[in-house]
């Protein structure tokens, strides 16, 4: 039984849903594995992004700049039953510092901003493959095909100042709808697990009625598809090859009178990366991800950059913890 809690920890290691900053459009590998009800996970993220785009939505792509973002996220996820299925309730509190460097034609005080980001709350309910499970049922279960439907709402609670071009918060509501799927191959046993994970999603944006410089911004939906091929390397470590496609999010700027001012291209990017995951102990896990955009040429309108992510998760389940404590 000693390892049962570790199994929860391992499965929950990646269980942090996309955060509102653009980088968090990337869910990551091994997020959508089934877990027993009443599992709790607290996660801490550090994400460094180097990109030619503003922070909030991966749009406002500006060629030949280097915007460095350091994002910190605290997340909490709990698995609960919902009409016989599993549902993951998630809350995300981000914070960030953004440094544009000096090449961007912005006021000096805009080159560095920091503060809390937009809070996200959401739920992802299982459609197939992960019914509501007691701990013992989960313990015996294998993962075959799993499908979820997720809806996360991001509220404009983050630090935002329309006098600044760069902001941590986006000052707009967002709804992200996703349909994550996991298919395992071979035996479902620590050290031998292999999965293919595909996560299509769409993010819908509300208007920013207080855009920098006045006026408002309308933004088109952004579409994304993540794919991961994950494979256990040992009983306590895995590797994932990560691919992400992002598209959409075109912004239209209107002045305060409501007249059209300008339109910016959306994003059309592909990222490739690798994730290494480690089970540190029965409760704690570590995940390291690095992703790089594929070279889209020099059109100046493509997202270019990299994302490096470090994630530490702490998972616990009351029953499994008690069993483990007794065993030890």
């Amino acid at each position: 039984m000693k390892r049962t809690l570790a199994m929860v920890g391992a499965a929950a290691a990646a269980l942090v849903i996309a955060a509102p900053p653009a980088y968090a459009e990337l869910d990551g590998a091994r997020i959508y594995w089934p877990l027993p009800k009443n599992t709790n996970i607290v996660g801490g993220f550090y994400v460094n992004g180097e990109a030619n785009a503003s922070f909030s939505n991966f749009t406002n792509i500006t060629p030949n700049v280097d915007i460095s973002s350091d994002v910190y996220m605290l997340t909490y996820t709990r698995i609960q039953p919902l009409f016989g299925r599993s549902i993951m309730w998630t809350g995300i509190l981000p914070a960030a510092t953004i440094n544009t460097g000096s090449v961007l034609p912005l006021p000096t005080d805009d080159t560095f901003v920091n503060g809390f980001g937009d809070i996200t709350l959401g739920g992802t309910v299982n459609l197939f493959g992960a019914p509501e499970m007691m701990a013992y049922e989960w313990l015996r279960s294998d993962v075959g095909f799993v499908m979820w439907a997720g809806a996360n709402v991001t509220a404009p609670t983050g630090a935002y100042d329309s006098d600044q071009t760069l902001n941590v918060g986006s000052n707009q509501w967002k709804v992200r709808l996703s349909l994550p799927m996991v298919q395992s191959f071979g035996r479902w046993r620590a050290g031998e697990r292999t999965t293919l994970e595909v996560m299509p999603a769409v993010t819908l944006f509300g208007d920013n009625d207080d855009a920098p410089g006045g006026g408002s911004i309308e933004q088109d939906p952004m579409y994304s598809v993540e794919a991961h091929i994950t494979r256990d390397m040992t009983r306590d470590a895995y590797i994932s090859l990560d691919y992400t496609w992002l598209s959409g999010g075109e912004e239209t700027l209107f002045n305060s009178a409501g007249s059209f001012v300008s339109e910016t291209d959306g994003v059309d990017a592909q990222l490739l990366g690798v994730t290494l995951g480690f089970q540190i102990n029965d409760n704690m896990s570590l995940q390291l991800t690095h992703m790089q955009t594929l070279d889209e040429g020099d059109t100046g309108f493509s997202l270019e950059g990299s994302v490096t992510k470090v994630r530490v998760s702490w998972a616990w389940h009351d029953v499994l913890q008690r069993v483990q404590d007794f065993r030890e």
Partner: protein, 599 residues
């Protein structure tokens, strides 16, 4: 012309001579095979009395069941309470205390050290059945678990087996040379007298042993000599391991728990005629909780063990089926007698539990942690260590009391199936005769036309010795002629069976620490101690056991595996077994408390 005629005559003569030369061995072989049957003795390891379908089990064993349907089944077949003593009796037809296996070598007590009969190996001054049959013109083959000595003079190749592939100690990984405990970290294997440094490719004990025995038989097929093949499966000894694709084969099959499975097995046994109507289950072991009292996690953990065990039994059956198919396809089945049995009752020991406490805790804990995966998700996999433990061992013993290492019926009784083509009264179940593992060797010799009397003649007047039971096998309608008394001792536990009567002495708290008397015809579960109502019979049988012990070199050990058990397991609840309702919550109070309640 004359020269030409001469050449023709020479050619014709040569052809005739060649045809004649070819015809002689074939004809002789056919005649030989008519006269002298082949023998295939299949021994499972730690298989419980009720596990296979032919004895009421729910485990899918179609091949063993087929042997039973076309052959004979015996209900009162006795083996030793542990493996190597049984194997010594199988090989020699004599009592284990005489031939060197008075105790398992792993458990020899201080007062048994250096004592003749307690060498921990099969003594070389006794012949084995393989010695006798080989001398009598048989090919002798062995594949599987030996456990009768590891030195060059004790391995199968030195004990009469012409070809052999054996795991020498009592157990180990089924997939590798990883040993079974901190005392035996690496498993020794021997093939034809040579110690192995590596195992055949894709080694899995059950599959490889079957491959080997088929290879041995095939290598000499058609040479006119009959064979004696001893296939000593290591299955289903712990660690219970199966090929990966078999791990989940019985998923959910044991979710109803041990009490329900026992009830169902007994019901089938009664329906089949294995047990008489009205048979009472032995009480659930008092420290085993009723299933519904377990948490879901505990149930999941426990049932997975039995799922793997069942898969392992079925895999063994599948391999037996492969061997049977080979015999059928080659025509050898026409003249082969097949015997299937277990070496003792089901194994209640979970070495991982033992490794967590006691004097050897550090050594064994280190060993298991280093060499095996022991987590829930790994149960049954090739690198895992799993055992079924006491609750499921008792299921395997249904409806009998106890299990391996005890002298209750669950430790001593084994399935016995005897098969041959055109068996008279095929499919019948023999409840009347009391057979013993030491009867096998004399019976084979009898069938082979060799003298059982000359095989390991008794060295003391009253020494217990196997008998040829060929008569009841050749003529099942005359059953009931073999009811001679039999004694047993192991780890200080004692038993004596004489007709329907049996006395049992087991250490506290598993037994009463006193002799108990049972009528097994009416009460095979040993639920009702008749000591109070039949003191004379009890006294007479105790005297009979003492006579057995004196004649068979029994030295009661001054140290046993049961030392300290009274303190290490919960005290037995104060209930009379017959009235103890299964499913009732046992009260784990102290003995003194029990007395106060007047229960």
């Amino acid at each position: 012309m004359a020269a030409k005629s001469g050449r023709i005559a020479t050619v014709v003569f040569s052809l005739l001579l060649a045809m004649f030369a070819c015809a002689i061995p074939a004809g002789a072989a056919a005649q030989d095979q008519q006269r002298r049957p082949n023998f295939l003795v299949i021994v499972a390891d730690d298989l419980g009395f009720s596990d296979v379908g032919a004895y009421g089990g729910e485990i899918r064993t179609p091949n063993i069941d087929r042997l039973a349907r076309q052959g004979l089944r015996f209900v009162n077949y006795y083996v030793g309470p542990s493996c190597s003593p049984t194997r010594s009796m199988l090989m020699t037809g004599l009592d284990n205390h005489v031939v060197g296996m008075g105790n398992m070598y792993e458990r020899t007590a201080p007062n048994q050290l250096e004592q003749p009969g307690y060498e921990g190996v099969l003594r070389t001054d006794f012949r084995t059945i393989a010695d006798a049959l080989r001398a009598g013109g048989y090919h002798t083959y062995m594949a599987g678990k030996w456990h009768l000595g590891k030195d060059p003079e004790h391995v199968p190749a030195a004990r009469g087996f012409e070809r052999s592939f054996s795991i020498l100690p009592g157990g180990g990984s089924h997939f590798s040379m990883t040993g079974i405990s901190g005392d035996e970290e690496v498993t020794q294997f021997n093939a034809d007298g040579e110690y192995l440094s590596r195992l055949p490719r894709n080694y899995y004990s059950t599959r490889t042993f079957t491959d080997q025995i088929i290879d041995y038989i095939e290598s000499n097929r058609g040479d006119g000599q009959p064979f004696f093949a001893y296939l000593a499966h290591q299955a289903v000894h712990d660690p219970i391991q199966v090929p990966r694709n078999w791990v989940r084969r019985y998923f959910g099959a044991y979710d109803d728990g041990w009490d329900a499975i026992r009830e169902r097995r007994l019901a089938r046994q009664i329906e089949m005629g294995i047990m008489p109507p009205g048979t009472r289950l032995s009480p659930r072991i008092w420290f085993v909780p009723q299933w519904d009292d377990l948490t879901g996690i505990a149930q999941a953990q426990s049932s997975r063990r039995m799922e793997v065990y069942a898969a392992m039994v079925e895999y063994m059956d599948m391999q037996i089926g492969r061997l049977l198919d080979y015999l059928e396809n080659t025509g050898l089945a026409e003249n082969t007698i097949i015997i299937f049995m277990s070496d003792n009752g089901a194994n209640p020991v979970d070495p991982l539990q033992s490794a967590r406490r006691g004097a050897g805790a550090l050594l064994d804990s280190n060993f298991y942690a280093t060499n095996y995966q022991t987590d829930f998700g790994s149960m049954g996999y090739p690198d895992s260590f799993t055992a079924v433990g006491t609750p499921w061992a008792q299921v395997s013993s249904t409806p009998l009391n106890g299990y391996k290492l005890t002298t209750f019926e669950g430790g001593l009784r084994s399935p016995l199936i005897v098969w041959r083509r055109h068996q008279a009264a095929a499919g019948s179940i023999n409840n009347a005769d009391i057979l013993h593992v030491s009867d096998i060797a004399p019976t084979l010799l009898d069938w082979a036309g060799l003298s059982p009397e000359e095989f390991n003649p008794p060295r003391e007047p009253n020494m217990q010795r196997g008998r040829s039971v060929r008569a009841v096998l050749d003529n099942p309608s005359a059953s009931g002629r073999f009811t001679a008394a039999r004694g047993t001792e192991m780890f200080g536990g004692r038993a004596y069976r004489d007709g329907p009567w049996k006395i049992t002495w087991m250490h506290e708290p598993y037994g009463s620490g006193e002799w108990q008397l049972f009528n097994l015809d009416e009460d095979p579960g040993e639920t009702t101690d008749l000591s109070q109502s039949m003191p004379e019979r009890r006294t007479a049988m105790i005297a009979a056991w003492e006579a057995y012990a004196a004649a068979n070199n029994v030295i009661l050990p001054d140290r046993t595996i049961y030392d300290g058990a009274v303190r290490s397991v919960p005290p037995r609840p104060p209930v009379d077994a017959p009235d103890w309702p299964r499913g009732a919550e046992p009260n784990f109070g102290t003995h003194e408390d029990a007395g106060d309640r007047g229960d």
